[in-house]
């Protein structure tokens, strides 16, 4: 697995040079992420705009583990108060500025999360192909208070991925605020990470009070972006899988053409 912080600068949001980039994507000094319509994008105050790279992420997991809440948290939307089965597909977009340490270069990550309810997945044939078509990464969601959702991961992984595909795979443990009811142990998590070589991130999808924990959010998004960037480097042949960076200055992948204002 990729060691955290090897490609992206995880503390970049604390630096003064990132202020402009972050104020374009967050409300009031890092308090909450801004949401953007399809015709909108972060305003650029500086003369040179950071390169935009787009990724599609498919969010999977058992019904009720918190897929929609996780996406809401990662995109700055309001976290739903009660559980609702998602009808069909729902996509949400987040913009996240990052800094590639090696290149000393700013990048604007545009992550689009594809979230679909289990009932619709089973009932309608077109949902899974739509979600998996040209997907860059899959987020496997499970709840630490529901062991069966964790056990279900194996099935989900073999359902949507194969061993030699180039899809980024990340698992996310939800409901980490409910320690008392925890059914998945640290050992389970360690074993899973070792077996599958898939990192497990932890998240608490709770309504935050006045001072939301921006460091938790930024860590999660940085890790996701770092894996996606790493995958791009592999695809571009700049690094070998599990190996070190080849050459000193890898060229970043060609970004998707900017289609929107």
């Amino acid at each position: 697995m990729l060691s955290v912080g090897s490609l992206l600068d995880f503390d970049w949001h604390k630096h003064s040079e990132s202020r402009e980039a972050f104020s374009s994507v967050t409300h009031r000094h890092h308090h909450r992420l801004k949401t953007f319509g399809l015709l909108e994008k972060p305003a650029n105050v500086s003369p040179y705009s950071p390169e935009e790279v787009r990724y599609k992420l498919f969010v999977v997991g058992k019904t009720g583990v918190g897929k929609t809440s996780t996406v809401a948290k990662l995109t700055g939307n309001e976290i739903p108060k009660t559980h609702n089965e998602t009808a069909g597909i729902q996509t949400s977009t987040t913009y996240w500025p990052g800094k590639i340490t090696q290149l000393n270069k700013q990048v604007m990550f545009r992550l689009q999360f594809w979230d679909a309810g289990e009932t619709s997945l089973k009932k309608f044939d077109h949902i899974i192909p739509a979600c998996t078509e040209r997907v860059d990464g899959i987020l496997f969601i499970f709840s630490i208070v529901d062991k069966s959702s964790f056990d279900d991961l194996h099935q989900q992984i073999s359902r949507f991925t194969s061993t030699n595909d180039d899809i980024v795979k990340i698992a996310i443990a939800t409901k980490c605020d409910q320690h008392a009811h925890c059914e998945v142990t640290q050992r389970d998590i360690r074993d899973f990470e070792n077996n599958w070589k898939i990192p497990i991130l932890k998240i608490q999808n709770i309504q935050e009070s006045s001072q939301p924990d921006f460091s938790e959010l930024s860590r999660l998004l940085n890790i996701i972006c770092e894996y996606l960037w790493y995958r791009d480097l592999i695809l571009a042949g700049k690094v070998t899988k599990g190996g070190a960076v080849v050459g000193r200055r890898p060229q970043p992948p060609v970004p998707t053409v900017e289609k929107y204002v």
Binding site: G37, G88, I89, Q90, S120
Partner: protein, 407 residues
């Protein structure tokens, strides 16, 4: 509205779900059992139990598609049963919309049905949660519109976009109100249009969606795909499609078709929550109104009739809508017929009222029926009662004749 909604199978009386609104404790199981029991008992003796009232509550039963029984228990507002029956029909249509008529009418595996029907919970809650709605379509059975001067130009954008989507059905929605729609969208039945608008406002905001929907009248068994794209915050374009194009394909087109309309969309959004053009000035005593067209099934509602809030605004906008809603329920079905209601209720009305009003210490309401339009106006208590008639008439003709208000 505080209410209990109970859904059971008609055959065996197995509870499917209950929804409780307004900080109510869930009804205990024996009570649910008795409520269903009395209905089944009547049924087995060839008696159709429709509704009952207690000292302060009302219970209405209704069976749908010989498959499910819906029971609603709510505070008694002395309004005609038509409105609660309408609400139950809407709940059932909501289930058809997201689950399909076939699976609803033939429940094979109850446990599975219980699990899967949860897909409708959000929409059903929205229908029950009338106090939180900004629209009145659920009540009037006419779809809410927002009448902006930008609409006529935006129509071209929409027509081009829906053509690219290979679909005749498309509309542009602002906070669950239709700004513009294609000709074919307006041919959907009123309940389909209202439900789709309610569905849009029940869902949490996101970039795009691909939702399988079964149109209760047009296509209850074969699903269409409702594709929605958030152009800017709170403004969504919706199209009803067949198997193609895919969500990703159409999303790629969004920028190309709508980018140059960005400023128009921004100014369209500015009109919310007023909902009608700033060029129209209404009488200063007016606090809000509902204008319905029974033929086109469109309605326009505003509780922000004046750009600058004056100091005498003692009633806030939420309360204004509540008053208008209760005035509507008070009048419709009792004095005025609910023309498009398939159920009984009209034959009881032996004379045709054209106008009606109420007067209280804090506000006054006046309504005029002038086919195909109906207007319900909420006034401050300051307006002399004799003046309401002519002001209401003037308001009606001012709104109906305005070229930007396509109602």
């Amino acid at each position: 509205m505080a209410a209990h909604l109970i859904c059971l199978t008609s055959g065996g009386g197995v509870p499917i779900f209950t929804r409780n609104k307004g900080n109510l404790k869930p009804l205990p199981f024996p009570v649910i059992g008795s409520l269903n029991g009395v209905h089944m008992f009547a049924n087995s003796h060839d008696v159709k139990l429709l509704s009952t009232t207690t000292e302060d509550a009302k219970v209405v039963w209704k069976v749908f598609h010989d498959s499910i029984t819906l029971i609603i228990v709510t505070g008694d507002d002395s309004a005609d049963d038509i409105h609660l029956n309408n609400l139950l029909s809407q709940v059932c249509d909501a289930m058809v919309l997201l689950y399909g008529l076939e699976d609803l009418a033939n429940i094979k595996n109850i446990e599975r049905f219980k699990r899967e029907i949860k897909i409708c919970s959000q929409l059903i809650d929205k229908i029950l949660d009338q106090a939180d709605l900004l629209t009145v379509g659920d009540l009037t059975n006419a779809v809410d519109i927002i009448a902006a001067p930008e609409n006529s130009v935006l129509q071209n954008y929409l027509d081009a976009f829906t053509e690219a989507a290979d679909s005749p059905y498309g509309c542009l929605m602002v906070h669950g109100k239709i700004a513009i729609a294609t000709k074919r969208w307006w041919t959907l039945t009123s309940k389909e249009m209202v439900l789709l608008s309610l569905l849009m406002s029940s869902l949490s905001p996101c970039s795009s969606r691909d939702i399988p929907v079964f149109l209760p009248n047009l296509s209850p068994s074969v699903p269409h795909r409702l594709l929605t794209f958030q152009l800017i915050k709170d403004v969504d374009v919706c199209v009803l499609c067949g198997p193609s194009p895919t969500l990703a394909q159409l999303e790629e087109e969004v920028g190309r078709f709508w980018r140059s309309g960005y400023d128009l969309l921004r100014s369209l959004l500015q009109l919310h929550p007023r909902n009608y053009p700033l060029s129209i000035t209404l009488d200063s005593n007016i606090m809000g109104f509902i204008l319905v067209n029974r033929e086109s099934h469109r309605c326009l509602c505003s509780t922000h009739p004046h750009p600058v809030a004056s100091s005498k605004d003692t009633i806030d906008s939420k309360r204004r809508l509540e008053i208008l809603r209760s005035f509507y329920k008070h009048v419709m079905g009792t004095f005025f017929p609910m023309s498009d209601d398939p159920d009984k209720g009209q034959e009881e009305i032996c004379h045709q009222a054209q106008e009606s009003y109420i007067s209280t210490d804090s506000h006054k309401c006046y309504t005029i029926l002038s086919e195909p339009h109906q207007i319900f106006v909420l006034y401050t208590a300051n307006i002399p009662t004799f003046a309401m008639r002519s002001v209401t008439q003037k308001t009606l003709s001012l709104l109906v004749k305005d070229k930007h208000i396509q109602i």
